[in-house]
Symmetry: C2
Subunit: 295 residues, 2 copies
């Protein structure tokens, strides 16, 4: 096999999709945004979503969920996502996306997948690795506790901001550390922690895909630290899924409790880490990410 | 281009290395363990290390550092590692390893790499994605503080355990949450947190590779929770690098302060997250991982 072909993920040259199916109009906006259609073996078609547009590209959570959608549909139905790492490689323009999915290794319990998302010009815009597993009942133990927060009904929803279309798809109710862009100064405490309730504005039951998107729902911590929108973007996000099917199902469309903070900002990068809890105290998912900032 | 070749990472068929160079005998054991030699374009040769053998395979930190070594050597010298995700796909036998490295996307500031590590039979045993960046001076802010701990000289080193050869390569001094296998019962607190000082037993200055290995130095949290060795193993680890060159250089071979905990154990998997601090209060790296356990 020639070396170039065997080396690693390639997005291949420009790919002409053999068939593309538009998402049915009756679907929830999130399901339209993350809709994928099988094209050839291991090749899927998707499209960026205007509904979830951020300032300069798609909301990263939808990109992550779209990649996870391909992974979930590429394996047996009894496998659940355990870990998802998405690397955001390049700015994404609006348009069609081609996703290639390769099963790296599959055992009785665990399957490893690698995915590549390319824009219409054939260039890679994101990659992902996904661990899927056939999970069984075992000893279970929760070391953490959900963050303290008033109930969602006691908190006012965050006002809309027309600059971010994706924001309008969710309802945010901050319990702590709301983003205050009008303040325009570093927070007195010098931290970037926040706690909030979040759900789809148009009701939709929680599932793996919406949970994956929620892992990226937290505003970039540098906006919180500086009370300003600065040039910044996520470079890599890793989500770990802890929910079981029944915790997911029981949550329905009620708000999920999330908290996020950052540990350090230094030399163009900062980290952030987040937890997502069901409203009855199950830890559904955790995520970490590293993001770039300009100055 | 045929679909199979363009799809994604493949480890290719069995690969006959064109040249293999044994690591020089005078090198530190860690540098011998993570030694790689360039083979063909984008293809590197390595070998598992007896010195860093764990119970049933290599110490994962050395696998991570070996992959990072290829990444670092594949890009311009002024790029530093920002993020590393390693997926441990299959049990690894002792023997030669072939690593393929592919540059997914490269911009002025950030380069994304995908790596595949295969054993002698051509099967993938691990994959990695790496973000490397050209970092500049920016605003910096530390939100976190190092964990409280007595100095390393005030703490006794952990005794050797002949079952784990890799343990003998490091010197561990627990300040909190030492592994107590003789206790054989769940810790009273029901948590799995620990704080320790750690360094190479044979002195070696800290660098990116040893820092990557240290991200996996923390015993699996389920051993701490249950005070027992149970069947378990890391499935995916993500490390974020925050150190700058001067913090790395200043640390030399003195012990690094680490802390780790877990949030939840459920249905065959648990998470763990860790921080590594220099002895003068710089956050060097953070990591998260998800690990499998049997029961």
């Amino acid at each position: 096999m020639p070396m170039a072909a065997s080396a690693a993920i390639t997005s291949s040259a420009i790919h002409s999709p053999e068939r593309r199916v538009d998402p049915p109009k009756h679907l929830h906006p999130f399901d339209r945004a993350t809709f994928v259609t099988a094209d050839a073996e291991g090749v899927w078609q998707a499209h960026t979503s205007d509904d979830y547009w951020n300032m300069n590209g798609p909301f990263g959570g939808v990109t992550a969920a779209t990649l996870l959608n391909v992974a979930v549909q590429s394996v047996a139905a009894d496998l659940e996502p355990v870990s998802l790492t998405v690397n955001f490689c390049a700015p994404m323009a609006a348009g069609p996306l081609t996703i290639r999915c390769h099963e790296t290794r599959s055992g009785k319990w665990v399957t490893h997948l690698q995915l590549n998302m390319a824009s219409a010009d054939g260039r890679t815009v994101a990659t992902a690795s996904v661990v899927m597993a056939r999970r069984t009942e075992t000893m279970s133990h929760l070391c953490a506790a959900p963050p303290a927060a008033a109930g969602p009904d006691e908190l006012a929803p965050m006002p809309d901001d027309a600059r971010f279309r994706w924001l309008q798809q969710y309802e945010f109710r901050f319990a702590r550390g709301a983003l205050r862009l009008e303040a325009g100064a570093q927070t007195p405490e010098g931290n970037a922690a926040s706690t909030l309730w979040v759900r789809h504005r148009e009701p939709r039951p929680l599932d793996w895909l919406s949970l994956a998107a929620l892992c990226d729902i937290f505003f970039l911590r540098i906006f919180h630290l500086r009370n300003a929108l600065v040039l910044a973007g996520t470079v890599s996000m890793t989500a770990h899924f802890h929910a079981d099917q029944s915790a997911l199902r029981c949550q329905l469309d009620r708000p999920v409790l999330g908290c996020a903070d950052a540990l350090v900002f230094s030399r163009n990068f900062f980290d952030q880490r987040a937890q997502l809890w069901s409203d009855d105290g199950h830890l559904l998912a955790t995520s970490t990410q590293v993001a770039w900032f300009a100055e």
